[in-house]
Structure formats: structure tokens, C-alpha cells
């Protein structure tokens, strides 16, 4: 993956020099180990700032609408999941295709930073990525691990590593994964009895500080005023009451029903390490089973809960 | 330890619809414990948090004047959750008032000075408080000329109409009442926007003249150049700002403009002070 960065830089320098785009949204090197930072590059002289590696786990589709100038185009680098969210943006009329120049990046997955941190007792001071080999350094030890072993769960479950829409590809497509049990995590929760399931979700969200990073990092969450922020009527209390926290997580997830690409940005950004995908994954499974639907693959189709079709399942209406 | 978050219990003694569109109502409150009225000693220009248990609090300028005893008055525009709830309350209901909060118009500095009061729309509440205070027999001699320029969209949108017309009849205050427009053939006062009336009728500034300006942003924007033209320097223009507030005592952190907190260091600032700070209001 790191070999594609030169190509990305060349493409971007060229686009900016020719004035074809006003800016490029990509990732820059972070200021601490295992970090990267979304960045807008506006001059060809700055393309050296762009990087792409296994820590670029945010979804750049989230930055597109805000970064779009009054007229003209912007370029955005897009992994498989980013590209699916760009499709969703276009289908939902948040941005039009002709305003974007999409630089597709075939992706072999992002690392789970918490999983890596858990391998060390002390803090990580350096992180070097060479192909599948990661060299991770802490004051006490230096360890080589295989990236495949420390991938984020959503990346392990990913079946759309290659961008579904692009103007140019930064590298040859990678092989897609095929999974025997694509929703094992959901099934595992489903197998519990109701009280255990409830306890599982209580335990899951108990540390939530309601910073709403999961919502804000999600490209699907673009409502001008989120339901949790409405004051009249006020749907949800603002305190640390567990009912309010549950309500937030349940409804946030449900607003993503049939739209979620499982990009993992919500989990990536959570400062408290909450796997909020436990909510959205169930919805993704249902969308697939009930509607044969995976979000962000088709520019011509609206998400299933957005449209009526005579053969929609309706046995829940009594 | 004194708890500044605990409101004084008050009873709604009277509710008056203040404007023809019913968007403003004037509430008269009486303290449940007479001793609280003394603790609530305030100066013209200060505000208070009107506190409705279970609903919330809103910061509102005090419209009654320190020289009016036995009650406090607030004129409230219906806009958010708390104000809407308040508009639906009735005489006799119990709620709370927390304050007085913030600073006030600089009455010591204004002594022996000409005072020009410029107000627009419903930002006339603390100006009412100020005028009543200055016209009080005990205070009138402390100030030189008093001019008032007050405008609203239409005659029915003027606040405190009876008081205005009373003041109009007096000879120790120069009233310049105006409306944006009216089809009332009997309207005997000015027609036109506040900045224009300021330009034509406000006294030319000498170093003993101060202007107090309160109104919607658009009025303030156009009144400023008119005042500058009349010779007012930035330190002679006194303004009262509004920002979103919660605590009212400078702790919750949201109402700042630069390093000043509107709730505690303000709401009254001179234009000179405002010009030195980010205009985040």
C-alpha cells in the first residue's frame, strides 16, 4: 500500500498544477506514532505532505461536503469504504459526481490501534509499516507483527476493498476477501438470551462520555441538527443517565440502517474504545437478509428504507 | 456557603401583552419572601435568570427600575423552549428569579452628563428601567439633558406605550418616538428607521454626552456611523450585548467575547471595549 503514495502524489500534483481541482483531501502524517490526520492540500508544492498507510482509518467522505468550494472540483483519496460512502453521498444528493475527482486506493485494511497497544505494557513510541510487516517500538521492546493479525474487525470482514467508483486508481486492484461467516459477531450476540443481550449492550456503552465522535466521524450523519441536539422537542436527555446513552446509541445506529458501509470510523474515533459497530452490524445483516442490500454499491439505487417496493417485507405491520 | 444557583421564589402578579402581535409579554413578579426583594437590589442595566423548575432558565434584562418598589418586571419575547413555556403560564403561578446579574450602565460616570438613549424593537427593557430611574425626582438633577430615540416596526409594536406618551408630555426629557412605517393618519410622531432619526435628532456630541444603544444588530450597524458623524467617540457609546448564557455568573464558559464574559464582565460594554475583542455575539 505504501508504494501507491508516490502515484497519489504525482496525480495530485498534476491535478493541482493544471487547476483541475482546487484541493485534494487526503491524509497527512500524524504528530504521534500510529496517527494520521485528514488534510486538504491546495498547492502542488504541498503534495509531499500526503501519506497513505494502515493508520488512515477515518472516512474521508465525511469531509467532502464541507470542503467543497462554491464551484469547481475537489479531489479525494478513497479506500473501498470511503468510495462507498461517496456513492451514498451522491445517491442522497449531498454532492454531485461531477464535483469530485476520486483517486481510488485499493486497501488491504487498517490496523486496530487498541489491539496493538494491548500487545505492549508501556507506550508505543514508534510504528513502521513495510508491506504486511509492522515494526512497533516501545521503551521496553521492539516487535514485528503481521498487519493481517492486527487488522480492525471491520477490515477483516470487508468484502469491498477496492473502490467502487473512481476517476483514477492509485494501484492495481487487490484481491477481495471471501468470508464463510460474514456476521459471526452478530450471530454470537443473537445466540444470547434477551437479558444477556441487554447486559452486553449495557456493558458496551457504560463508558460512553457522549462526545458524539462516533456520530461526527460518520459520513452518514449530516443532518443540520441531530436528534440529540434538538431542544423543542427535546428527544433525549443530555446527562449521563444510561437511558439517554442507550437512546442515543440505538437511534444513531438506526439512522444508519441500510446506509452503513461498515467503514469502522465510528469505532476508530471513540475515545472510550466502545465497539459501536455492535449496533450497526445487526442492521447491516438485516439489510442484506431482508433486502439483499449492501450500501454504497449502486449509484442508481436509494437505500432500502428510503424507498417503497411492493415486495418489501411487511409482516411486522399488523 | 451561599448557593448562587438557587433562585428566589416569586409569584406572577400580572401578565400584560406588550405588543400587538402578542410575541412579547410583560411579567410582573412579586417575591414570595419579602426579604428576598432587598437581596435582589439591582441597578438599571442588569439582568436576571428567570427560572422555571423542570423547564429551564433564561437570562432577561430587568425592565422595572430600582426606584419602583414591591415588584420586578420583565418583558419577554417568545422564542425558545423556556420563553414559550413562560408565555403559557398564568397569574399566580410560582417560579424563580436568580440575580441580579451582570454589570449596569455606568451611572456614576453619567452623572452631570447628557444622556442619549437609543433603542429599537424589543431591546428597550433595560432602557425603560434606565429612563424611569433617571426621571425619578431623587435622581433627575444628577443628569443634564436626556434624549430618547426609540423605534419599532409599527405603533403597535412599541413597548410601554403609555409610559412613552407620558414621557412625551414632560419637559425634562426629549422623546423622539419613531416607527418604520404606519398607515395610521393620526400618528403624530416620527416615521423612519432609528439610524435616520438619530442622524436628524440626536444631539451633537461634546465630551459630556454619552449614548446608550440597544437594539437589533442591523439597527446597531447603521446607528454607529450616524453617531460617529455626530461626534461621538467610541468610549461615549455604551452598548448592552446578548449571548447564550446558562449560569449567569461567569462559570459555565459559553458567553465569552474574547476574554470577557458577557454575563459577568458585561452585558454593558463601551464600543471602545467591544472594538478590542472578537465580535462573537
Amino acid at each position: 500500500m505504501d508504494t501507491c503514495i508516490e502515484k497519489i502524489r504525482t496525480i495530485c500534483a498534476d491535478l493541482l498544477a493544471k487547476g483541475e481541482v482546487q484541493k485534494v483531501i487526503g491524509f497527512a502524517e500524524g504528530s504521534i506514532p500510529m496517527a494520521s490526520r485528514p488534510i486538504a492540500v491546495t498547492s502542488k508544492d504541498d503534495v509531499e505532505k500526503l501519506v497513505f498507510n494502515a493508520t488512515c482509518g477515518l472516512n474521508l467522505a465525511n469531509y467532502v461536503s464541507e470542503a467543497l468550494p462554491k464551484d469547481g472540483k475537489i479531489a479525494v483519496t478513497a479506500k473501498g469504504c470511503d468510495s462507498r460512502n461517496l456513492v451514498t453521498h451522491m445517491v442522497e444528493n449531498q454532492v454531485s459526481r461531477d464535483r469530485l475527482y476520486i483517486i481510488g486506493i485499493p486497501c488491504t485494511g487498517m490496523v486496530d490501534k487498541r489491539k496493538i497497544a494491548a500487545l505492549f505494557e508501556d507506550e508505543i513510541t514508534d510504528f513502521i509499516e513495510e508491506g504486511d510487516t509492522l515494526t512497533i517500538v516501545s521503551p521496553q521492546k521492539k516487535e514485528k507483527v503481521s498487519k493481517t493479525d492486527v487488522l480492525r474487525h471491520n477490515c477483516r470482514m470487508c468484502t469491498h476493498r477496492n473502490p467502487v467508483v473512481f476517476d483514477v486508481m492509485a494501484a492495481e486492484p487487490v484481491e477481495e476477501q471471501s468470508l464463510d461467516q460474514p456476521f459471526a459477531d452478530v450471530d454470537q450476540i443473537a445466540a444470547m438470551d434477551p437479558e444477556t443481550r441487554w447486559a452486553h449492550f449495557q456493558e458496551l456503552t457504560k463508558n460512553c462520555i457522549r462526545c458524539y465522535a462516533c456520530r461526527n466521524a460518520c459520513p452518514l450523519c449530516y443532518c443540520p441538527t441531530c436528534f440529540v441536539d434538538e431542544s423543542s422537542p427535546q428527544w433525549v436527555g443530555k446527562g449521563q443517565d444510561k437511558t439517554d446513552i442507550n437512546t442515543f446509541h440505538f437511534l444513531r445506529a438506526f439512522h444508519c440502517a441500510g446506509r452503513c458501509t461498515d467503514c469502522g470510523a465510528c469505532v476508530e474515533v471513540c475515545p472510550m474504545g466502545i465497539n459501536v459497530r455492535d449496533f450497526t452490524r445487526k442492521l447491516n445483516k438485516d439489510a442484506l437478509e431482508l433486502f439483499g442490500w449492501e450500501a454504497g454499491l449502486d449509484m442508481e439505487k436509494r437505500p432500502p428504507l428510503d424507498v417503497y417496493s411492493p415486495d418489501d417485507p411487511d409482516d411486522f405491520i399488523k | 456557603m451561599e448557593n448562587p444557583y438557587v433562585p428566589y421564589p416569586v409569584r406572577i402578579d400580572d401578565i400584560e401583552v406588550a405588543t400587538e402581535d402578542k410575541s412579547l409579554k410583560t411579567f410582573t413578579f412579586v417575591f414570595q419572601n419579602p426579604a428576598d426583594e432587598e437581596k435582589f437590589a439591582y441597578k438599571a442595566g442588569q439582568f436576571a435568570e428567570l427560572s422555571i423548575p423542570g423547564v429551564g432558565e433564561i437570562p432577561i434584562g430587568i425592565a422595572s427600575s430600582p426606584v419602583e418598589k414591591g415588584f420586578v418586571k420583565f418583558t419577554v419575547f417568545r422564542t425558545g423552549m423556556v420563553t414559550s413555556h413562560l408565555h403559557n403560564m398564568k397569574k399566580g403561578d410560582i417560579m424563580g428569579i436568580r440575580g441580579p446579574l451582570g454589570n449596569w450602565y455606568p451611572w456614576e460616570k453619567l452623572e452631570n452628563k447628557n444622556v442619549v438613549i437609543i433603542g429599537g424593537g424589543f431591546a428597550f427593557t433595560t432602557l425603560r428601567s434606565s429612563i424611569v430611574y433617571m426621571l425619578d425626582p431623587a435622581n433627575r438633577s444628577r443628569f443634564k439633558n436626556i434624549d430618547v430615540i426609540y423605534g419599532a416596526r409599527s405603533p403597535g409594536m412599541l413597548l410601554y406605550r403609555e409610559k412613552l406618551f407620558d414621557w412625551e408630555k414632560r419637559d425634562d426629557i426629549n422623546m423622539h418616538i419613531t416607527v418604520d412605517s404606519t398607515d395610521d393618519p393620526d400618528w403624530k410622531y416620527h416615521t423612519g428607521f432609528v439610524p435616520q432619526i438619530v442622524e436628524k435628532n440626536a444631539p451633537v456630541a461634546d465630551e459630556d454626552t454619552y449614548a446608550i444603544v440597544c437594539g437589533p444588530p442591523i439597527m446597531i450597524k447603521f446607528t454607529q456611523p450616524a453617531l460617529t458623524q455626530l461626534g461621538y467617540q467610541d468610549h461615549q457609546v455604551i452598548m448592552s450585548l446578548e449571548n447564550k448564557m446558562k449560569c449567569g455568573i461567569g462559570m459555565c464558559g459559553r458567553c465569552n467575547i474574547g476574554k470577557e464574559l458577557v454575563c459577568k464582565d458585561g452585558p454593558v460594554f463601551t464600543l471602545e471595549q467591544i472594538n478590542q475583542t472578537p465580535k462573537e455575539y
Partner: protein
């Protein structure tokens, strides 16, 4: 899908109900409301999503 997610979280399915009732179908409305009330009553007071103010 909402019902599925609630159930997945451990909340009883019968607490959520969808029906099409036209404004002319007063009796159906009564029947449905009665049915829901009975079902919810059978489930007892919700202790999961209801707020506890005693703390």
C-alpha cells in the same frame, strides 16, 4: 429492522408495534390499541429504557 435491533439489544419485541389505520377505521384503532396495551401490560413495567430518577 427497528424491531429486530431492539430485540437484538434485549428489549421485548412486543413493545414496538406498527399498523396501518385509516382515519375512518375507529374500531380498528381501538382494537389495535387494546391489543398493544395488553401485550405491553403482560411484559410488565420496562426497566431498561425507562429512566430511573430515584438515584
Amino acid at each position: 429492522m427497528m424491531g429486530n435491533l431492539l430485540e437484538h439489544m434485549g428489549i421485548e419485541r412486543d413493545r414496538l408495534h406498527f399498523s396501518w389505520i385509516s382515519s375512518a377505521e375507529a374500531t380498528k384503532f381501538v382494537d389495535v390499541v387494546k391489543e398493544i396495551s395488553d401485550k405491553v401490560r403482560a411484559l410488565d413495567t420496562d426497566k431498561k429504557l425507562a429512566k430511573d430518577y430515584t438515584k
